[in-house]
């Protein structure tokens, strides 16, 4: 009998101890603070974030910003002295292609374009495509998923079948129609149209989240208190689903870069004279042996961007998902158990 009592006491202590460790990290913090703290504890994610910020600044400041119309241009020139159309005729290591020199650190292509300018332009396009597809896909996915999951019934049925319909249309077809066929509408239009077709995955996820969340007690409570549908969606359910949305949007960002690169590689994306990283790889895949730098740089740039976005996504997932708690180390546990031992 006495033994049994001991055992249950011990169990109770263990549970208390475990909760204490789990709570110690989060005591007295708001939800946002907890998330921020967890995110910044994830080293690869922080490294990815820092890299992305620095890389974006680096790329956009290199070529400068060129906006506005032809009549009223708005130009800020960058610190790099070549642009993608400029040709320098004295090419070292001709006739194949220019090897890296002090003036052209990434080398030159066979005509004499500065390869650094080409790669940075490609990276700019990748970043732009990523932002456009990410924001369009994120917006439409959230709206479609939220409406579908919240209202359910026939609205849900119609919207989900519409989603199934969009899923069947492949990105390559859109690329072919927009980028390759209808004149050359430019990268931005291509990104826009790809964005219109890339919300499907997110919509399904958000719908699932809304389906679960709308059955929860706090939604009933809000409804009883007289909240409108709009208020319930925006103030009560959406903040709870924001983790899923953010994580899945980061994955969408990473995959959209690969989509654009793949389309351009096949010749359906960005068209010459503009450049894209996929297009550069396609052009120089055969010069691997004679001019490997022409092949390595665009590939390395794509990988660097996608990898850091993926790591940021992983960090966000860890930060937002309370179910995947940080593992409590045995050492912490022993320490805590020692501290909470009765009589000490």
């Amino acid at each position: 009998m006495a033994k049994k009592k001991d055992k249950s006491e011990l169990e109770q202590q263990t549970v208390v101890g475990e909760n204490a460790i789990a709570n110690r990290e989060t005591e007295g913090l708001s939800q946002g603070q907890i998330i921020r703290r967890r995110f910044f504890a994830h080293k690869p994610a922080v490294a990815g974030l820092i890299f992305m910020i620095l890389f974006t600044i680096f790329v956009y400041s290199a070529s400068g910003i060129h906006l506005g119309t032809e009549k009223h241009p708005f130009n800020i020139s960058g610190w790099w002295h070549y642009n993608i159309l400029q040709i320098t005729t004295n090419i070292p290591c001709a006739p194949l292609s220019g090897c890296p020199t002090a003036a052209h650190p990434f080398g030159q292509d066979e005509i004499g374009h500065d390869y650094f300018a080409l790669v940075t332009r490609g990276a700019e396009i990748s970043l732009m495509v990523m932002v456009v597809i990410g924001s369009l896909g994120g917006f439409f996915g959230t709206v479609m998923g939220a409406v579908s999951g919240f209202f359910g019934g026939w609205i849900d049925a119609i919207m989900m079948r519409f989603t199934d319909f969009i899923i069947t249309i492949p990105a390559i077809l859109i690329g072919a129609v927009i980028g390759f066929r209808v004149g050359n509408l430019g990268v931005f239009t291509l990104a826009l149209f790809l964005g219109f077709f890339s919300w499907t995955g997110l919509a399904r996820l958000v719908r699932g989240e809304f389906l679960t969340l709308r059955e929860r007690e706090f939604v009933d409570a809000a409804r009883v208190a007289g909240a409108s549908n709009r208020r319930i969606i925006f103030k009560h359910i959406l903040p709870n689903a924001v983790g899923v949305i953010i994580v899945s949007v980061t994955l969408l960002l990473a995959s959209s870069i690969l989509t654009e690169a793949g389309l351009s590689y096949l010749g359906f994306g960005v068209q010459a004279p503009d450049v894209s990283l996929g297009l550069l790889i396609n052009q120089y895949q055969d010069s691997f042996q004679v001019a490997p730098w022409l092949f390595w740089w665009p590939g390395a740039t794509i990988i660097a961007i996608t990898l850091s976005i993926n790591f940021i996504g992983d960090g966000l997932r860890d930060a937002f998902d309370p179910r995947q708690r940080r593992r409590i180390k045995r050492k912490d546990f022993a320490l805590e158990a020692a501290k909470s031992r009765p009589g000490k």
Partner: protein, 528 residues
């Protein structure tokens, strides 16, 4: 046994049938919509006679007229779609008409020729990606936040971020050209031996966890083992005649038996170990008929028969060696027997490596980068034909597997971790079950349920082909057909390939939903 269904169950069955019927009719509507939109998008996007209208050939007007009649360009696209649809629907009565391509080939025949190529290209890599990805994901989840987990996560993310065309070029460069060059003069410098061994040892060390001392010991011993293996391979020029022989197969089989027993039931279960070792013995015995009888008249049917034979024999071995809890023991011994007899087949194929290398069509450069098979190779030998297929498929399979498996790693890891945090796992542990039973029997099965969607999509995606991979490696499958159709503004070819892909995608969604419902009792059809 009571076979009669209760009224309640009958009602559920009817509900399920009605649900499937409704979903199929919706699927038909979706297919109609997406083919209609695709047809019109493509038809309005480009004018097939635009190129001709600008040209200066003499009989330009005749050609334009001919093209217009052939492609029915005088009918507006929305109406022309129905002409195409009529041909497709005629397939219901057995005379399918998908029209002609721009080169006046039958679209249906082109697709029929492309499908086997695509299936051959994608089946292996899809299966490999699923098996590898799930295995690594499980390992990663069990050792969450260990060094192993971090290294696997990093690898998975890296693979996830790679553009496949870039990987393909690298593989062509290093695995094909580099390896073929090495085969011409198979003599590595000692420095390279040590460097490669160090790289292997480093990767292996990523897999162990524990104190620094243990890590260093692992690194040191694996470095010694790897470098001696490489040294022996180098000295004996094994790569020129890479056969295993019955002793090596036996040794590897014993290793597999120990490994499988460890994974499924644990080495303390002697009965299981003996069962697995007996299976190895039976499988190794297969080595001898393979050298003589099977050698002459081998074909795929025979291999399937042998595989089934091995599986059933090892099933009974597992069954008779144990008295209680037969399931995992049977699984372990079946898997052991299968893998060991697979080694026998691999060895048999490798035996034709040397003659294959010496044929003039190959001329000492076996790893190929283009096409599905060597058209110059003249052989009737079943094993050499297969070796030829393998040397061609190796690179694209590697590329597709590398890219494909990382998604499975991430999903499996996340899903298993979520399940491991559930209360019933705590209950299982509290009952005193070992970690192996908890993970294999309680957690793993439930963690696999969300993956059915992914698997269904990937399997349906096999027929869609891999557009980029097929174009890089010069395979003429469904993906390259689609690519060609877009490049040449070949509307009927495009619609033919697209209809198949879209059909399979819609069916995969339906199948995934149904499988999901069957596997997860918490979801019930018709229940709100």
């Amino acid at each position: 046994m009571n076979w009669a269904l209760k009224p309640d169950e009958i009602r559920n069955e009817i509900k399920l049938l009605a649900y499937i019927g409704r979903r199929i009719s919706i699927a038909v509507m979706i297919l109609f919509g997406s083919t209609f939109i695709t047809y019109n998008l493509e038809a309005y996007a480009g004018d097939p006679i635009a190129g001709l209208a600008e040209s200066t050939v003499q009989n330009k007007w005749y050609l334009i007229h001919k093209l217009t009649r052939e492609l029915q360009l005088d009918v507006p696209p929305p109406a022309r779609y129905f002409l195409w649809l009529k041909g497709v629907l005629a397939g219901l009565t057995g005379n399918l008409d998908l029209g002609l391509t721009r080169k006046s080939h039958s679209v249906a025949q082109e697709i029929a020729a492309a499908i086997p190529v695509t299936i051959r290209l994608l089946t292996t890599s899809t299966i490999l990606a699923i098996v590898l990805g799930i295995t690594i994901g499980v390992i990663s989840a069990i050792r969450q936040y260990s060094r192993l987990d971090y290294s696997l996560t990093f690898v998975a993310f890296l693979m996830f971020s790679l553009p496949i065309f870039w990987v393909a070029v690298l593989l062509k460069q290093f695995m094909a050209i580099g390896f073929n060059n090495y085969l011409e003069k198979p003599n590595l410098d000692l420095l390279w031996v040590f460097l490669t061994a160090a790289a292997f040892a480093f990767v292996l060390t990523g897999f162990v966890s524990g104190t620094r001392k243990r890590v260093l010991i692992t690194f040191g011993s694996s470095f010694v083992i790897f470098s001696s293996i490489l040294f022996i391979i180098n000295q004996t020029k094994w790569v020129l005649n890479p056969t295993l022989g019955v002793y090596v197969i036996g040794l590897l089989g014993v290793g597999i038996a120990f490994g499988m027993t460890y994974v499924f039931v644990g080495l303390q279960n002697r009965k299981a170990l003996y069962a697995a070792l007996t299976s190895v013995g039976v499988a190794v015995l297969m080595y001898f008929p393979f050298q003589t009888i099977v050698n002459q008249n081998a074909n795929f049917g025979l291999l399937v028969v042998v595989a089934l034979l091995m599986l059933s024999v090892s099933y009974f071995i597992g069954y008779f060696f144990t008295k209680i809890d037969k399931g995992p023991v049977i699984q372990a011994s079946m898997l052991t027997a299968f893998l060991t007899s697979f080694l026998v087949v691999v060895d048999k194929i490798l035996q034709s490596w040397k003659p294959y290398m010496n044929t003039p069509a190959v001329a000492g450069r076996p790893i190929q980068t283009l096409g599905p098979s060597n058209s110059l190779l003249v052989t009737t030998d079943f094993w050499m034909q297969n070796l030829d297929i393998i040397t061609h498929i190796a690179l694209p399979t590697m590329a597709l597997t590398l890219i494909g498996f990382s998604g499975y790693v991430r999903y499996t890891r996340g899903s298993l971790l979520e399940v491991l945090n559930m209360d019933y796992i705590r209950t299982a542990r509290a009952k005193g079950l070992g970690e192996r039973e908890v993970i294999l029997r309680h957690a793993f099965r439930n963690a696999m349920i969300p993956l059915t969607t992914l698997v269904a999509y990937d399997i349906a995606g096999i027929l869609g082909g891999a557009i980029i991979t097929e174009s890089v490696f010069g395979w003429h499958g469904m993906g390259s057909l689609f690519n060609e159709a877009i490049q040449n503004q070949d509307l009927k070819l495009l619609m033919g390939t697209f209809a198949i892909t879209a059909f399979l995608a819609v069916m995969a969604t339906l199948a995934a939903d149904l499988i999901y419902t069957a596997l997860d009792p918490r979801i019930r059809i018709g229940k709100k």
